[in-house]
């Protein structure tokens, strides 16, 4: 009995001593709370690579879909919990900048980046990382079965061939949906753009509340054609989906993912270290594992199953115009297409 107790006591003492000895090393680590909408499988490699270069900082992720993370950041506005945003749509981050929620900071690596990927303010309110586009995911297996031709332009999608076969994100609930619609209006002009959408509406089976779901539905043969997030289409194809990623000849709507320091962070130094790192070549090479277009010129790596030269297809659209006209476009869109319970009788 006493021996057992003695043993136990020495064990405890030993443990206490060990933890005392170890604690200074732990105490020095800064825990950095990072809000992100990056893909789940990116989190591990990103964290590992950053922490290897910055051993005193530990990343704690809060990761969810773009809408949820943006809503959470806005709701926490008066008492921010995030130290830094790493990987959230630039249109959302831009709105936060306009509301004074961000700490402007230009990392040294920023001057190497393509101008499109900078906020344009001095110092920068946010720094772009990569770009994604909204393209056409075309299920070749289902199309062969139904003997339907492959579309090559947005206009092709209005052909009666594709009646009830197209899904796209609802712009009122998905950022990807909005950038798609905004790009159409920008490229075609307002009137022609709305006429195009009127015609397209006849072929739409569903406006989905998600930017990634349309290409997934197309990949699984739920629908023949999905208009939506390119990365998802490519990854589904890699997994074995009979999918063609089509870049319509009129061009693609796009969105940037951005890094930005949250105003009021308790760890400004660590946050700056991450912002610095996020603009390095090493970071950009990591982005290139998932995205075809990254901020740094000359990163010649493309994820598998992407269409070539997707960067050239990005439409020349003014990001500020997109932000300013958002409410007006969504109201018009909702009036035209969302007010009815179903687009047409079956």
């Amino acid at each position: 009995m006493t021996i057992a107790r003695w043993t136990r006591r020495t064990l405890w003492l030993g443990l206490a001593a060990a933890s005392l000895a170890a604690s200074p090393a732990f105490a020095q680590k800064t825990k950095l709370t990072v809000y992100t909408a990056l893909e789940n499988d990116q989190l591990g490699p990103f964290k590992k690579a950053f922490e290897a270069d910055n051993p005193t900082i530990e990343i704690a992720w809060v990761r969810d879909s773009t809408g949820v993370v943006a809503a959470k950041l806005m709701a926490e506005k008066d008492n921010p919990r995030a130290d830094i945003i790493w990987g959230l749509a630039a249109s959302n981050v831009g709105l936060m900048a306009a509301q004074g929620m961000l700490e402007p900071y230009t990392p040294p690596g920023a001057k190497e980046l393509k101008p499109l990927f900078l906020s344009g303010k001095t110092p920068d309110t946010w720094i772009g990382m990569d770009a994604y586009t909204s393209l056409v995911c075309f299920n070749t297996a289902e199309a062969d079965k139904a003997k339907k031709p492959k579309p090559v332009s947005w206009m092709d999608l209005t052909k009666p061939d594709y009646k009830d076969s197209i899904v796209m994100p609802n712009p009122a609930s998905s950022g990807t949906g909005y950038l798609t619609v905004a790009a159409w209006l920008h490229v075609m002009g307002e009137e022609a753009g709305w006429n195009f959408m009127d015609a397209l509406h006849q072929n739409i089976a569903q406006y989905i509340h998600s930017g990634s779901a349309p290409c997934v539905q197309a990949a699984k043969g739920e629908r023949m054609i999905g208009i939506g997030l390119d990365t998802r289409g490519a990854s589904e194809k890699t997994k074995g989906a009979p999918l063609d990623l089509i870049v319509p000849k009129e061009g693609l709507g796009w969105e940037l993912e951005a890094t930005a320091i949250v105003k009021g962070t308790k760890n400004p130094e660590a946050a700056k270290k991450l912002a610095d790192w996020a603009a390095t070549r090493k970071a950009n090479e990591l982005y290139a594992d998932t995205y075809p277009i990254v901020a740094l010129a000359g990163v010649a790596k493309t994820p598998p199953n992407y269409p070539v030269d997707i960067e050239k297809a990005m439409v020349k659209i003014d990001v500020e115009w997109m932000a300013k006209n958002r409410d007006r476009i969504l109201a018009e869109w909702t009036k035209r297409y969302d007010g009815k319970s179903a687009p047409k009788a079956k």
């Binding site: 789940n40 992720w61 709105l95 997934v216 007010g339």
Partner: protein, 561 residues
């Protein structure tokens, strides 16, 4: 003599005071976990995006758009149709479980609960595999599951257990003497059913209908996955809050959604006024006797329902093993290797279990003691009414609204409860608040059936009221108490809409992980994680059934003759 009377009157009133203090404390707790968080979001409906007061401008803008009327009508249609289907089915099912001697009742009871063991993602996935474009049975639904049809099928599946749970409680307790008297008077079976059974279960039936109706109105998960272009109020909230981060308009729609709850509250009060105690102190518990025809009918009926439930679960189980739906149907265990799909993998599953256990323990204590205080406190009507109202609120609130309200309230500058934010505790509190209503209704239904004479006799014997509570009320209500605990546990395991705003880096939950995995396109792995959640809840339920049997043997011996 008069001295003794006076003394007992003083003591009784002191007890009354203590119980009234309890009711006040309950109001305070409910205000903190339901009322104030909700208010801190709903108040945004009167502000513009920059936080300036704008009066009813947002409401005017919203009511001016044709979309509102359309969504409201759709919501009402779907909720009314689902309720009309679920309530009779659940009543018959509950009747079979409590009032017949059909075999395997324990198994049927277990199966009826499966839908609440599952995150709402699971029926969504299973229905698409069954009835979607590539589904096996798509001909059955006319080739198109997306839309109202899909929502109603999924809602019936999802709401069924809620209704069965409430009606089992309502039907479980009955006075055999009433039936003996009716038999002696040679009343027909139908007449007995209409004049004895139905009135006794009325409160349960109405509660179940109200719960199903409001559940359907507020749920956005099902509508989002399988609703197609069928707009409902709950998806309108989603569009405003998640799609556009417009909290002002989200708050407006959230406020509109409270209307059905207000209606439910009024109906509940009206019915409640007429409910009489079923289990009087002299009551003889009803023990169903065998009746071959009736038992055969209910066995068949319950089997059909059970097969329907198992088919949906089975489809999800098979789906979780498929390599790539629908082009590569070969089977694999890979989808259960969650580390591959979510960095937190099994860790989030552990978090879910911890949260669910916490919610079950604290939530059961709060709902049962709360319902008891509300039912048994004499006088004090206005404050008790306030409790009822606060208890009804959570059910009427979409999780999105409650979750955001929690951010605004608990993360506000100067809130002394700020330390709770981003902890496991706030997840537990949020779950208890979110699922308070059904627990409260179950407890109230059970308590209403106990004759107040028990308390009266105890009081005249000068037994303190808390002792009556512990020695009489709790043992009688033990089945209901365990039901509430299980209900809270399984709902906490599956909830997404509210906690999605509240988890911190180290408290990510399995249900949220499943949603994220599904969004990443890995449907099979999402189905797999859903099934792990189902299996966990089912295991807990089996333990509950064993405990129930053991405890029933010891504590419920009085139910037998």
């Amino acid at each position: 003599m008069s001295l003794v009377l006076a003394a007992s009157a003083v003591r009784a009133s002191r007890e009354d005071l203590a119980m009234r203090a309890g009711v006040v404390a309950l109001v305070a707790i409910l205000l903190l976990i339901v009322g104030l968080p909700l208010w801190s979001l709903l108040v945004k409906g009167f502000q513009d995006v920059d936080g300036h007061f704008v009066g009813l401008a947002n409401y005017r803008a919203y009511f001016a758009s044709p979309a509102l009327f359309n969504s409201a009508l759709n919501s009402f249609d779907v909720a009314a149709l689902s309720t009309t289907i679920v309530v009779p089915l659940a009543f018959l099912y509950a009747y079979g479980l409590t009032r017949t001697t059909m075999p395997l009742r324990w198994l049927f009871q277990g199966i009826s609960l499966i839908p609440i063991f599952a995150p709402s993602l699971l029926p969504g996935i299973a229905l698409i595999y069954l009835f979607g474009t590539q589904g096996f049975f798509k001909a059955l639904v006319g080739g198109q599951i997306y839309g109202m049809k899909g929502i109603v099928i999924a809602q019936v599946f999802y709401c069924f257990p809620h209704a069965v749970l409430i009606m089992t409680t309502a039907l479980r307790t009955a006075d055999a003497r009433l039936y003996e008297a009716a038999d002696a008077l040679r009343a027909s079976k139908l007449r007995i059913f209409l004049t004895v059974t139905l009135p006794g279960a009325k409160y349960g039936v109405v509660s179940a209908a109200m719960v199903v109706f409001t559940l359907v109105i507020t749920d956005f998960g099902v509508a989002k996955v399988i609703g197609g272009n069928f707009n409902v109020l709950a998806t309108d909230v989603y569009k405003q809050v998640i799609g556009q981060q417009n909290f002002s308009m989200g708050a407006v729609v959230g406020m509109v959604l409270l209307a059905p709850a207000a209606l439910a509250f009024v109906v509940d009060r009206l019915v409640q006024r007429k409910q009489v105690a079923l289990l009087t102190a002299r009551a003889v518990p009803l023990v169903p006797r065998p009746s071959p025809g009736r038992d055969a009918f209910f066995t068949l009926f319950c089997t059909v329902i059970a097969i329907g439930i198992l088919a949906i679960l089975g489809m999800a189980a098979w789906g979780s093993l498929i390599k790539y739906w629908p082009y590569n149907l070969s089977l694999t265990w890979e989808n259960y290797d969650f580390e591959k799909f979510d960095a937190n993998g099994w860790e989030s599953f552990g978090n879910s279990v911890r949260m669910a256990v916490g919610a079950a323990i604290f939530g059961t204590a709060l709902t049962f003691v709360g319902a008891w205080l509300t039912e048994k406190t004499r006088g004090f009507g206005a404050v008790r009414g306030l409790v009822q109202l606060l208890a009804f609120l959570p059910m009427a609130v979409p999780g999105l609204v409650l979750g955001l309200g929690y951010i605004f309230f608990f993360n506000a500058h100067g809130n002394p409860l700020n330390f709770l934010y981003a902890t496991m505790a706030i997840l537990v509190i949020n779950s208890v608040a979110h699922f308070y209503t059904v627990g409260h209704l179950t407890a109230a239904t059970a308590l209403k059936q106990i004759d107040p004479e028990f308390e009266a006799v105890s009081a005249s014997l000068k037994v303190p009221v808390w002792r009556t509570f512990l020695r009489v009320t709790v043992p009688i209500c033990l089945p209901a108490i365990l039901d509430i605990a299980i209900y809270l546990f399984v709902n906490a395991m599956t909830t997404v809409s509210s906690v999605i705003f509240l988890y911190a880096p180290d408290t990510k939950l399995a249900s949220v992980a499943a949603l994220n995995i599904e969004e990443a396109g890995t449907t099979a792995a999402a189905a797999a994680l859903c099934l792990v959640i189902v299996a966990t809840s089912a295991a807990v339920k089996v333990l509950h059934l064993l405990a129930d049997r053991f405890l029933l043997d010891r504590l419920q011996a009085w139910r037998r003759r």
